[in-house]
Amino acid sequence: MNRQTIKPPRIAVRILEFIIQKDIQYGALGDFEEQFYWMRKEHGLFKARLLYWKQIAGALPYFIQNTIIWSLIMFKNYLKTIFRNTTRHRGYSFINLAGLAIGMACTLLILLWVKDELSYDRFHENGKNIYRIMSYGTKYMIEGIDGTPAPLAPAVKEEVPGIVNYARFSDIPKLVFKYADKVFYETRGLIADPSIFEIFTFPFVQGDPKTALSEPLDIVITETMAKKYFGTEDPMGKTIEVEGNLAAVKGVIRDIPHNSHIQFDFLSSYEFIEEVTNYGTNWGAFNFVTYLQLEANRDIHEIGKNITAVAAKNNCPQVKDGVEFRLQPLSAIHLDNRGAFRNYAEVGDRKYVYVFSIIAFFVLFIACVNFMNLSTARSTTRAKEVGMRKTVGASRKNLILQFFGESLFLTLTACVFALILVIVMLPAFNQIAGKDLKLDLIDIQLVFGLIIIVLLTALTAGSYPAIYLSSFKPVKVLKGVFKSEGKGKTFRKVLVVTQFSLSIALLIGTSVTYNQLRFLRHSKLGFNTENIVYVPVKENIGKSYDAFKAELLSDPNINSVAAQYYLFADESFRTTGYDWEGKERGQQVDIILNLVDYDFIPMMGLELVEGRNFSKEYATDATRAYILNEEAIKQMRMQNPVGKQFSYGQRKGTIIGVLKNAHFRSLHLKIEPHVLFFLDDVSAATEYGVILIKINGDKTEEALAKIQGVWKEFNPITPFEYHFLDQKYDSLYRKEQKIGTILNAFTLFAVIISCLGLFGLASFLTEQRTREIGIRKVLGASESSIVFLLSKQFTKWVLIANIFAWPAAYFIMNEWLKSFAYRISIGIWAFVLPGILAVSIALVTVSYQAIRAAWANPADSLRYE
């Protein structure tokens, strides 16, 4: 065998080439090969190969040690350089940092919010198999409501396969609870089947879920409520007086976490329902919310159809009209913006989750864009640095690495500040958003998400400057011939225009939201709400209404007093069970009913377009008079309604008047048909009833004091409580107000960040034109003309940004406004004002650079040559 053709193992050679230092490699490999041949001659090929491989083991420790040491040194150098660079360009670094920190803080807050919104109801063990029955029909049921008839659930469990369990809920009107000397109103109570504890996971602290709601008048309370009434006493078995009834505490459960769509302070047994409400429990009264626990992997469409079939079989009147039932999974309930028919839960909206997520990324994107711009802002200065480094041997890769390092360093620092910002802002944010968000740094998901955000931000934001700055040719730079290339300029322009488009769009959004809310607040509802106070009908007020009213009216600061069965703003009782003269076969009209006394219509300032108000002159008014609104008449297709027959169930009567349409309920909704009966016996209105009291607006305090005094006379036990009617109507739009506030805040941030970006960019471009400006000055241009020249450029961009922003904002706001039955039309000023505002802000931002450049000494700027 020819000696030359047997060579040392090629792979080993390669490895050694990698491990052994370059400058001695030649000699080393030669030695290795010589040794290889010698070994082969002495001890054969196998041993020779073995020995060759062993050389790797010999060289490896040194290699590893050297690499580690070298890496540490390089790392330390990079850190030093990065730190030095960052502090050298202190002003810009700070602006960069601020912008990035604000952007990250916003993103983080939004992401925390989104995470929370998506986390609702996850804690129920059977969660995957829990469904809510939704009823779909026509008119107000067309989008589906969560009301179902009481007998539906038990019937369905019997006859439809696949149903493991059911639980029905109903809300409870405001009740007065009394234990010893503790008397409070309780509003957050629910009536539930005892099976609620089997289906849902509400852990008991005391008591047995199996027996807790077994008797009528049993109640289960939360820990907080227990502490409120019993302090440190043991609540179990004690009785609380609830408006005359004695409820027994049979269980204490943990407070309901905020991310549960079902919220309550106490639960009472289904049997309690007769005691406390007048809710119908027949097949025609959709007063309950029904949850079902199904077996796994069931076809919910099938089951929905079966449920409908069962209802039909039992002659449910609504089903005969075409109403059908469908199942909604538990996980979809919180984000369902249709809202609970019965108001026991805070309602979310999936749309807002999407929108805010997008906004979060936009804000972060804007901040990254800034970063890019600011990093390249003073590129003339940095270009010299780059040129010098390249001259002494830095490769482009080295420089790219260094710039990435800088951006990572800044991003990490920004992240730390962002976290601090979030911690500071979280309490305020929680209050506005009505949440209980926490920055839980132990949460792996959160930390992981943070790391990804930081890396992504550093990478995207750092990539452009890294590649751009490192590409400078040293020769050109050091000769002073350096100019930014055209390609970079366009990209930069696009970036700033995008930023401003987004900010302007947000500004438009804010202005439209503000206008819509103002519209809602000041809309003519069609009746008075100012200076009207209302108190609940409790204890003796109903019984002694006449005396109570007389007592109040004796005070000069009280103008009028009226009674109402329930506040339109709070509830709506509706049914189709009416009959009237001229009713067509099969015609059904859903009319909301209420009961009021003589003084209601005048106090509210409601207008009667036909007929008259209830009057003492007509004795029959008390039991046979009806007043309907225009919408009711329209839907009933009745002509000349006054005097015609009208009946509710067995209660026959005539129509005595027609009310002009008014917005009794939220402006989200179209005006619906209403019918008013006379409230003969105020004491029958103890669940929801209110006494409305119109007071002298100039003497509010005195009037309230009087009312309180009279209340205490009549109600020794029940605590005094009052509200203002106009505030009540305002609160209907609380969700929108919240959204508005949040939107304002984020718009402010976006604008700040965009200005930061513009500032950086302005300084960059102004710097680029330093020579030009110097020359112009030498040739006689005035400072103001130069400022004008520079500002013109940027103003143009902001104007362009408007062109992009206006259509986008218009489209989005239009969609949002559609959720209101009564809305403003988006006027031209909603666009023009933000546009003007944006341009002004841009000018102010740019002017600092422009003025500085204009006043610079031409001698300095022309010193390049």
Partner: protein, 108 residues
């Protein structure tokens, strides 16, 4: 200037001793002779490379031979810095070993 490590010292002295025969394998022989341990050739080249990078040794090529896959032998010799470093070690050695007559274990 950091002190030479032991193996670097040994290698430099071997190079000095070998005069103009100091190439990789020969250096290794010397080191083995001096320390009594069978150093792997690859393990010699680690410190040798560092010495070369720090400028303590200089290299020159010899004649190419077929046994080396056509490569020449690379001969190493001490540079001025290398000699200075050795002198320093020599000085330190004489200081620390000064009047250490008989190294003996002392009971407590």
């Amino acid at each position: 200037m950091k002190l030479l490590s032991r193996i670097e010292e040994i290698i430099l002295l071997s190079i000095w001793r070998l005069d103009d025969r100091a190439y990789g394998m020969a250096i290794r022989e010397e080191v083995i002779k001096a320390t009594g341990k069978k150093w792997l050739l690859g393990a010699i080249y680690g410190p040798l490379g560092r010495l070369h990078k720090n400028g303590y040794v200089l290299s020159s090529k010899g004649e190419p031979t077929p046994e080396r896959g056509g490569r020449s032998k690379v001969y190493y010799r001490l540079s001025r810095e290398g000699i200075k470093a050795l002198r320093e070690i020599n000085r330190v050695n004489s200081v620390i070993w000064n009047d250490i007559e008989k190294l003996e274990f002392k009971e407590e």
